[in-house]
């Protein structure tokens, strides 16, 4: 059982989900089944976290040959880069099943399948396996938004599905190119990421392959200007789907860049780093500004989430250990803050049938526990020290300053932009006068409070004792950076100007 911990975590929810779809269950049974499965996964996840030694290498490795003629294997493993992403994917799921009680059986089944596929994407060490899970991940999302979403769900579903699939296909093409290049260079087929990273891509096409990979991940993250599917999808999706999208799926995009793009395309990556980091910062500012004028709370949070993703992505492009560690930490921190804010909004919508900011007000007087929890998550999302949000943001800004002072200063403005829209929203929703609608607002009941309490405690614990987490991820980040910096400096030096197709590492 222990050597297959990851396989269990992947296939237990997927199989349960499929079985649930086949059998006629009531929604209560489906919810409880889902809850039990996700809690089991949660315990496995905690066990993995505690057992993780953090030496920088892969742990919990599983590897079986799958399609031998092409060197495709069933390879799973966890290292410092994927650890916290995996945690985000396991720890937060059970909450969805305890809070939202009114969804149908099919919805819960899809949630389980989504979780399994996401864990698969996070654990895969083989590019083909990664790609398969990556696509499978989209299927339940498609059904969850398309079947259970809001009134304008159909266009939103089509947009997210076609958009992300278009990106994925580019990635598939680039993936084949990488494998073929490896075959011509080493004379054998493999899709294993560790071996592929030894590849020395020589031809001018490498830039295109890099861009194809980057576009696929940029759409998923989403990086400016590929974020346009996000506001609609996040707004129209059922809240728990939005939560899954923002807390986990977006992070897998960032994770994909770190895991698959950086090791293979070091030189191209270094060449485009300035451009990409500008995209990250621009997205942060742009979406942050857009957030302030939103009237729908969920849409505002969607923009806020996109804004934070810009900063998180920036950490990857800065190519130093502080920024990268900051990103890896922020991946989990952001899931606990903005992800949880989405859940709170979902709760409010369930109780008051509205998400319009102007319809609300004075909730803090009726529901002190709810308001306190919301405030803590909100403060984490604006990066207040003592909460989980600060450490990552600080490290990313610190790293960005080292990378490029100008970008660092722009990145710093996230401190201001985030507070502006969050505080204004908090004022209009929780303070001021209450109205008939909010007079009736029920505070969190015991079971809800107990559901949220662990996450709130986690937010504070991650802010006060971040070293528990950082010491497990930092060695892996450092190894990654060392690898990027071992590229002959001359190769990078005259290539930092990003000119398309300009080929300057001919042998």
């Amino acid at each position: 059982m222990f050597e297959h911990a990851l396989s269990v975590m992947i296939f237990l929810p997927i199989l349960t989900g499929l079985v649930m779809l086949l059998f006629p269950l009531s929604k209560g049974t489906a919810r409880i089944t889902g809850f039990v499965v996700t809690v089991a996964i949660l315990f496995r996840g905690i066990e993995i976290f505690l057992g993780f030694t953090g030496t920088g290498g892969m742990e919990y490795v599983e590897s079986h040959s799958w399609i031998q003629s092409l060197g495709i294997s069933y390879g799973l493993g966890i290292d410092g880069i994927s650890l916290l992403v995996l945690m985000a994917g396991t720890v937060l799921f059970p909450m969805v099943f305890t809070i939202f009680k009114t969804q149908s059986k099919g919805y819960y089944a899809n949630l389980l399948i989504a979780q399994g596929a996401m864990i698969g994407t996070i654990c895969a060490t083989d590019l083909v396996l990664f790609y398969i899970f990556w696509e499978v991940m989209l299927l339940p999302i498609f059904f969850m938004i398309g079947l259970y979403g809001g009134p304008k769900r159909i266009p939103a579903t089509l947009k997210i599905t076609i958009y992300t699939i278009a990106g994925s296909l580019l990635m598939l093409a680039a993936l084949v190119y990488v494998a073929v290049s490896y075959h011509t260079q080493f004379g054998k087929w493999t899709f294993d990421i560790v071996q592929l990273s030894e590849l020395n891509l020589g031809s001018g096409f490498a830039v295109w392959a890099f861009l194809m990979f980057m576009i696929a991940f940029a759409i998923k993250i989403p990086l400016f200007p590929f974020h346009t599917w996000l506001p609609d999808a996040y707004t129209e999706a059922p809240t728990s789907t939005t939560f899954v999208l923002s807390a986990i799926m977006a992070k897998i995009g960032v994770y994909g860049v770190i895991r698959f793009v950086v090791p293979v395309f070091e030189i191209e990556f270094a060449r485009f780093a300035v451009l990409l980091s500008l995209a990250g910062v621009t997205g942060m500012i742009y979406c942050g500004l857009a957030a302030i004028s939103q009237k729908d709370m969920k849409r505002m949070l969607a923009f806020s989430s996109a804004s934070h993703m810009g900063i998180i992505a920036l950490g990857v492009f800065c190519m130093n250990v502080q920024a990268l560690t900051g990103t890896l930490f922020q991946i989990a921190a952001h899931a606990t803050s903005t992800g949880v804010l989405f859940l709170f909004v979902g709760l409010m919508e369930e109780r008051m049938q509205t998400r319009k900011i102007e319809d609300l007000g004075g909730i803090a007087y009726r529901a002190p526990i709810f308001a306190t929890f919301f405030a803590i998550a909100m403060l984490a999302s604006v990066g207040l020290p003592g909460t989980s949000g600060f450490i990552g943001e600080f490290l990313i800004i610190l790293g960005a300053i080292k990378f490029n002072a100008f970008i660092g200063i722009l990145a710093g403005t996230t401190l201001i932009i985030g507070v502006c829209y969050m505080l204004w929203m908090f004022q209009r929703v929780f303070f001021e006068k209450s109205n008939e609608r909010t007079e009736e607002f029920q505070d969190l009941n015991v079971s809800e409070a107990l559901t949220f309490l662990p996450v709130i405690v986690l937010i504070l614990a991650m802010g006060i004792f971040p070293q528990t987490f950082i010491k497990k991820i930092e060695p892996a980040a450092r190894q990654q950076i060392v690898k990027v910096f071992t590229i002959p400096q001359a190769q990078v030096a005259d290539t930092t100007v990003p000119t398309l197709g300009h080929n300057n590492h001919k042998k």
């Binding site: 401190l415 507070v419 505080l423 004792f465 070293q467």
Partner: protein
């Protein structure tokens, strides 16, 4: 050099635990049946008093050590360590922080006690004290932090509490807006702080990112980076300590309960910027250019705020502008490298300004939340204790000879003169006169003359002892705190300056006694002039004037708020709506729109081939097969 002392970690912990306990109690019971106020009050005062006790222990512990070994430190745990960056959750008690500790915990405790009376009957009594405890804990982290990052925790923590307490009466939109303004303006400063820290780290922080290591490596700084770091950190200080151009939040912050204004917006939090500059004296002393910028910003703020203070009619706003103005003095002091003079003024200011605010709070309490000085008058008979204590505070603030403010302000002005900053000295003397004028304008209008509103006057009476006793204690401090740093000319030996010496990098210039006398005489003259004018105009009752011309300009605070609103806030919102209404649907999405457009056009183009007749499809098939056969036969050859 350094000694470890585990117990200093407890100093911030007590109020924080208090905040947690009070907060939980309030959160869980406030909608049903809350605990009695007495319980909250007692629990709230335990933490601050314990901290005060420990601060005394720290003081005596330090005192027992030789001067250059007065550093107590405690590393609680590694907060985070990434690459070269090692940040410990560490605390450092040296002479500078121990002085801050003493008066923060002392005044903090007094204000907690006072608040029990002031807040009585408020339905959010528990919440108030939870926030107040949280504030005190954060402030103590700020003071005790062993490095800039830990200081930043407290720095943002006090900002949060300030926000929460300003918008405490949150049903009123204006109060919440004032809170938002405070938080956002502070965040602008914090951006400077974070950027300054980052540059500092990459310049000299890789060998340890705490004050002592930074101090040891400070000589490696290049002037360019050094000045940039100093100025960025000063932006942070501007935000927290309300200096030009970020002072606008402090007058609005008076929307909070009065004890909050006394504790946070007068005595402690707003002086954090001064403390920070003094903490980084090893940087600022190296780069006099950065120091002069600090000093000039400070003294100009002092002038501007004193000018605004002369026209205000809200008693708390007068005191708020006075605070901004006094903070300007402190920055002028630390800017010209007279750190101990600046910190000494922080110390005395804490006493007399807290006293004035609490006095004003008593007045407001007695008058049922009337804050307009043009509605008061003649209260000195009704509220003798308040009058007496506030008079002492006012004398100290305006620098009456032998009161605490006199010594500290004189020290600053003397340092400016002695170090050759004549411009700063002249403005400083002018501001001293203005201070005396607006302070006594307030005193005369509130306590002297005839009552302007009879009904309010009749109901006024002195506050209960729980409120007046702290006033009296503070009044004693405001009157005599100056004794602690008597200069040589008055037979003292600058005790505080000597005490602070190990923490600071400063040089005391040796100048002739005549310069010292000149400084003293001019500041006494300025005080006398200010108070005389105030007495002439307001001593025998006066009616609210209609301001015209330049005075009206000053009464409206040069329209700075309106200008900021027009230049920053409105454009910000406008950009937001342009993005979400125009850019987002029409421009940013252009690549997606282009793809769908191409797709549709291509579909339309290929549509002509789909005629629907089977035989046409058959022709296509034949053509296709023929071409394929042709191709195959060609390639087989």
């Amino acid at each position: 050099m350094e000694h470890t002392a585990t117990y200093i970690g407890l100093i911030p912990l007590f109020p924080l635990v208090g905040a947690l306990v009070l907060g939980l109690m309030h959160m869980l019971t406030c909608t049903k049946n809350p605990f009695p106020e007495k319980l909250y009050g007692i629990l709230a005062c335990v933490g601050p008093l314990l901290s005060f006790f420990l601060a005394l222990v720290v003081y005596y512990h330090l005192k027992g050590l030789p001067a250059e070994e007065r550093f107590l430190s405690h590393n609680a745990f590694t907060w985070f360590a990434v690459g070269d960056l090692q940040v410990n959750m560490g605390f450092l008690a040296d002479p500078l922080s121990s002085l801050m500790l003493l008066f923060v915990t002392f005044i903090g405790s007094l204000i907690h006690i006072y608040s029990i009376g002031y807040m009585a009957g408020d339905k959010n009594f528990g919440k108030f004290f939870a926030y107040l405890n949280l504030f005190l804990g954060s402030m103590l982290i700020l003071v005790l932090g062993s490095g800039p990052v830990v200081m930043f925790v407290g720095w943002e923590g006090v900002g949060l509490c300030s926000y929460l307490l300003i918008s405490f009466y949150s049903e009123d939109t204006d109060n919440v807006l004032a809170g938002n303004k405070a938080f956002i303006v502070n965040r602008i400063g914090d951006l400077g702080f974070v950027l300054g820290m980052s540059f500092l780290f990459w310049a000299i922080g890789t060998h340890g990112f705490d004050y002592l290591s930074l101090k040891a490596n400070a000589h490696n700084l290049t002037p360019g980076i050094g000045i940039a770091v100093c100025l960025l950190l000063f932006i942070g200080a501007c935000g927290k300590s309300a200096q030009i151009p970020l002072y606008v939040w402090l007058p609005d912050a008076m929307a909070g309960p009065t004890p909050v204004s006394a504790l946070i917006h007068a005595a402690t939090m707003v002086t954090a910027g001064v403390y920070m500059v003094a903490r980084f004296s090893f940087l600022y002393a190296h780069f006099p250019l950065a120091g002069s910028i600090v000093a000039w910003v400070g003294i100009l703020t002092a002038l501007l705020a004193a000018f605004f203070g002369m026209f205000q009619k809200d008693i708390k706003k007068i005191l708020a502008y006075s605070t901004v103005s006094q903070l300007g003095y402190m920055f002028a002091a630390v800017g010209i490298a007279a750190y101990s003079a600046g910190i000494f003024h922080v110390f005395t200011h804490a006493f007399f300004k807290a006293l004035l605010f609490l006095g004003a709070g008593s007045v407001i309490y007695a008058l049922h939340h009337q804050q307009d000085i043009w509605k008061m008058g003649g209260l000195k008979d009704k509220m003798p204790k308040t009058y007496g204590t506030m008079l002492i505070g006012a004398l100290a603030l305006s620098g009456a000879p032998l009161f605490s403010g006199f010594f500290s302000k004189d020290e600053i002005l003397f340092s400016a003169l002695a170090s050759g900053h004549t411009g700063i000295w002249i403005i400083g003397v002018l501001v001293a006169g203005m201070t005396a004028y607006y302070t006594f304008r307030m005193i005369f209008l509130v306590f002297h003359g005839e009552p302007r509103d009879k009904e309010i006057y009749d109901h006024a009476k002195d506050a209960p002892p729980v409120m007046t006793i702290p006033l009296i204690i503070l009044a004693v401090g405001a009157a005599f705190a100056g004794v602690l740093n008597l200069p040589g000319i008055f037979g003292g030996s600058l005790n505080i300056s000597h005490w602070l010496a190990p923490s600071l990098v400063e040089h005391h210039p040796h100048v002739s006694i005549w310069i010292e006398i000149l400084a003293i005489v001019t500041s006494i003259a300025a005080f006398a002039a200010g108070i005389t004018i105030a007495y002439r105009k307001f001593g025998h009752g006066a009616e609210e004037p209609e301001y015209t011309g330049f005075a009206k300009f000053g009464y409206n605070k040069f329209y700075v708020d309106e200008i900021y609103n027009a230049v920053f806030v409105q454009p910000y919102k406008a950009v937001g709506s342009v993005i979400s209404k125009f850019l987002e649907p029409n421009v940013t999405d252009i690549h997606v729109k282009l793809c769908t457009w191409l797709y549709q056009k291509a579909g339309k183009a290929f549509k002509v081939f789909q005629v629907g007749y089977i035989r046409v499809y058959a022709i296509y098939m034949v053509i296709g097969l023929s071409l394929m056969s042709l191709f195959l036969s060609q390639s087989l050859k």
